[in-house]
């Protein structure tokens, strides 16, 4: 008796469970048909960093063996400068190369006297100062120092030259004409070269 009853129960359960599973599956299939999931947006952003560099190819150390008072003293060889850029022409009008002294009143420092930047002249025949010009201009685009700078070139940027480079020669002089007699000794200074976009 116990055995027959148990068999009937197991039989009923065996029929009910597959039926329920089929019914559940059928309901889910009905929800998928013809229905798209909500759209999800993935924002993509990739930045190509602009490039701007200045390299001194030669003439990084300029030397005058013997300064002459009350005369123009030329450094013997030019500074050869290569400026390279890779910029967005839609956001850059010009690439400017600046030369500047950090302390214009003391462009070159000597044993007891200094040579100011107004006595140091630069010439770039392929740039803006085609004649020797004192390094007494102001900063451009935040690059340089007031009264101690010289803009060497301003290169217009278009789609054609958004990625390019140029090499220029910078000639330098120390003009001591009318300047008080210098004390003998060694005078040294640092001229900075830096490019900036505008």
């Amino acid at each position: 008796m116990r055995t027959r009853t148990g068999k009937r129960v197991r039989l009923c359960l065996g029929l009910l469970v597959p039926a329920a599973a089929v019914a559940f599956g059928a309901g889910e299939a009905g929800a998928q048909a013809g229905t798209g999931s909500p759209a999800r947006i993935i924002a993509l952003a990739a930045t190509k960093t602009s490039q701007l560099s200045v390299i001194v190819g030669s003439g990084a150390v300029q030397t005058i063996a013997s300064l002459t008072d009350n005369a123009v003293n030329s450094f013997p060889a030019p500074v050869v400068i290569t400026t390279s850029w890779d910029v967005n022409p839609g956001q850059t009008n010009t690439v400017n190369l600046m030369a500047y002294f950090t302390a214009p009143a003391q462009a070159l420092v000597g044993p007891s006297t200094q040579i100011p930047s107004s006595r140091v002249l630069g010439q770039m025949t392929t740039g803006l100062p085609v004649a020797f010009t004192a390094i007494t201009q102001n900063a451009v685009g935040g690059v340089g120092t007031a009264g101690g700078s010289l803009r060497l070139f301003a290169q217009n940027i278009t789609g054609a030259n958004k990625k390019a480079n140029r090499t220029d020669n910078l000639n330098l002089q120390i003009n001591l004409t009318g300047f008080p007699t210098l004390a003998p000794g060694f005078y040294s200074g640092t001229l900075n070269l830096k490019a900036v976009t505008q």
Binding site: P38, A39, R40, I41, I42, A43, L44, A45, T47, S50, L52, S53, V54, I55, A60, V61, Q62, T63, I64, A65, S66, L67, D69, N73, F75, V79, T83, V87, N88, G90, Q91, T92, A107, L108, G110, P111, I115, V120, G141, G142, L170, L172, T181, L182, A183, P184, G185, F186, Y187, S188, G189, T190, L191, N192, L193, K194, A195, V196, T197, Q198
Partner: protein, 188 residues
């Protein structure tokens, strides 16, 4: 309910992209390069120069056995720009003392040539070299100017008086006597 949320999410994403692009654009304006440097070196050497006002001093007519043979005046400017030393000295000297002036074979030695500075007394050119400048027996120190740090840059101008002292000297041969007096400064 879900569509408005999706639109909001899409808007936010678009704004983020726009902001990212805007910040990139701002970064390009005023983009600066590395700083390259050029070292400038210049040396100012010490200087010491002597500049006579004239290259020639002359006597129109020599008088034998007399000290009254005075050359035309010579002014000498001495300039110095130094870093060391205690004195600037000006030396006058003849390369060959035995024949300071010569007229062919006839000579007048430096012992009979006398110099004086700024109206001072007469002294023959018979001294020794000073600091390597001059010739033994044919030199005369014309001045010695003390210098120190405060006077390392200086100048002075002196009148050099020259004469031939032929008192007691054999009669000279007629003709043109010529010679070269060197003037040179030295720092000691």
């Amino acid at each position: 309910m879900q569509r408005p949320l999706n639109r909001a999410l899409a808007g936010a994403a678009a704004l983020a992209v726009a902001l990212a692009l805007a910040s990139t654009a701002e970064a390009q304006v005023g983009l600066t390069s590395n700083t390259a440097t050029v070292t400038l070196n210049a040396t100012k050497l010490s200087t010491l120069t002597v500049a006579p006002s004239t290259g020639t001093a002359s006597i129109a007519s020599i008088t034998d056995n007399s000290a009254a043979n005075v050359f035309s005046a010579v002014s000498i400017q001495t300039d110095w720009n130094l870093t060391a030393g205690t004195s600037v000295r000006l030396i006058g000297w003849f390369a060959t003392p035995a024949s300071a002036l010569a007229n062919g074979a006839a000579v007048i030695p430096s012992a009979n040539v006398e110099g004086g500075i700024n109206g001072g007394g007469w002294t023959p050119f018979t001294g020794a070299a000073v600091g390597g400048v001059g010739v033994a027996g044919g030199s005369l120190q014309l001045f010695s100017q003390a210098v120190a740090a405060a006077t390392y840059l200086g100048t002075r101008t002196d009148n050099l008086n020259l004469r031939l002292n032929l008192a007691g000297f054999p009669a000279t041969t007629a003709g043109l006597y010529t010679g070269t007096l060197n003037v040179q400064a030295v720092v000691q």
